[in-house]
Amino acid sequence: MSRTAELRSWLITDTPASRAQARWGRMYLSWLAFRRNPLAFGGLIVALAFAVIAVIAPWLATHDPAAQNLAGRLAAPNAANWLGTDELGRDIYSRLLYGTRITLGMVVMVVVLVAPVGLIVGATAGYLGGWPDRILMRITDIFMAFPRLILALAFVAALKPGLTNAVIAIALTAWPPYARLARAETITIRNTDFVAAARIQGASTPRILVRQIMPLCLSSLIVRVTLDMSSIILTAAGLGFLGLGAQPPSPEWGSMIATGRRFILEQWWVATMPGLAIFIASLGFNLLGDGLRDVLDPKQR
């Protein structure tokens, strides 16, 4: 038997011999299901490609993203500047590569801030019920009632425009849907026999939440987060466009579009190239999210 076939049978065995083998086996089966969906697989490739580009941007870039060249400003795409130059003669291709870092950085920051908060608030409210549920959900409703971009605008305007504040502003408006989702999942789980069994073993409420309930909320949350990444990218770009996100000269895609707006008819590439980058990144994450839903959502299996 060849090495790969051996590994495969080790992974899909019905009688795993250790904790690690059981876990890897389940991950392998999910991977097989994921691979069968070509669009989702494409989304994964796009997302991975963006992550790789963000890491190795300095090696891929042909120019310094901040280096100005006023003699060659607003040049059309050519051999030296593959995607043209902007109004200060900076290379758009290099700026887009570095912009990946800012955009993905913001997305990751928002997700890290938002997903745990939503999960904890939602699971706690759903499991406890009664007045804790009512209080937590009304707070969630209040945050949900704010229009997302407007609250972010107000927040950034009140503090100081910048990357960190943009992240906080997006995070503030992004967590309520996760809390709602986690609560809905929790309510379907909390009266099951395995939760009753955990209670009868003497498990404390936090222990039941963490060990029994949250693992089952996690898959739908991951799907939702992945689908939301595109809207986080769009909100970040929107804030950048309005001058409230990353500040110049940092190469943020939204602010790049904002500066290109002035030349959109004569020098179309200045605004179009970052727009395409936003489009491809959002689409990639959307496809990835759809694929993950097919794999992770237990109700569809």
Binding site: D14, P16, D193, I200, G202, P215
Partner: protein, 254 residues
């Protein structure tokens, strides 16, 4: 061992259990039988601490216990649920399921305890790292029983432990329970609507109808087919077989 006196449980206006009283002796197996909705499972959930809205007295080992239980109580009293598909966490391996109670009660030597519990219920180490979806119904129920006995309780509450299994597996699980009872000197309360199961495992039983205990009797009375109350007679008749004549003769007792 277990003494229940004047137990009442109400859900809103519905009185699910009406002043139920019974006593279970040490190492005895006591059956609670009745049709669906007769309140037998509700008695068990009040006993186990899952349902806290009850009034009356429940005493275990002579000590009265309140609605909220401590960890020591759960070391002493454990429960097996009806549906083996719902009582195991779908994302936990058998190993994780059995590790959980050991971790909660900070017991030592988890490794040996898990292995022994699996052996005790006749599963063996092959099953240790499987997920519930890789097990049959009977195997799942064995895992649920292993989870209950791993804390070495002296009282085991059984909520229809075999009604979700097919007949041949039912017998295996009942024999397993009988063996564990003998080996571990367990006191058990068995809730069932199946009189054959109750006759197989129990010493004494109580017949419940509409939330009240109608009659208490020994299994020998049941085997001889000599219940005193009309309702118990009808229940016994219904359990023996089902035809048109029998169905027409059924009446509703309140």
């Amino acid at each position: 061992m277990i003494k229940v006196d004047n137990l009442n449980v109400a859900f809103g206006d519905v009185r699910a259990v009406k002043s139920a009283s019974f006593t279970v002796k040490d190492r005895e197996t006591y059956g609670l039988v009745g049709e669906s909705g007769s309140g037998k499972s509700t008695v068990l959930r009040a006993l186990s601490g899952l349902n806290r809205q009850w009034t009356g007295t429940i005493a275990i080992d002579g000590r009265p216990i309140g609605p909220v239980r401590d960890k020591a109580f759960y070391r002493q009293v454990q429960m097996v649920f009806q549906d083996p598909f719902g009582s195991l966490h779908p994302r936990h391996t058998v190993d994780q399921i059995l590790s959980e109670p050991i971790a909660i009660h900070r017991m030592d030597d988890a490794e040996a305890r898990i292995r022994r519990a699996l052996d005790d219920v006749g599963l063996g180490p092959r099953f240790r790292f499987r997920y519930p979806h890789q097990l049959s119904g009977g195997q799942r129920q064995r895992v649920a029983i292993a989870r209950a006995i791993i804390l070495e309780p002296s009282v085991l509450l059984l909520d229809e432990p075999t009604s979700a299994l097919d007949v041949s597996i039912q017998a295996e699980v009942l024999n397993l329970l009988a063996r564990l009872r003998a080996e571990r000197h367990l006191t058990m309360i068995l809730v069932s609507h199946n009189l054959a199961v109750v006759a197989h495992l129990c010493d004494r039983l109580a017949v419940m109808n509409a939330g009240a205990i109608v009659e208490e009797m020994t299994v020998d009375d049941l085997r001889r087919g000599e219940p005193a109350q009309a309702y118990s007679k009808q229940l016994l008749r219904a359990s023996l077989g089902y035809d048109r004549k029998m169905a027409d003769s059924l009446i509703t007792f309140e």
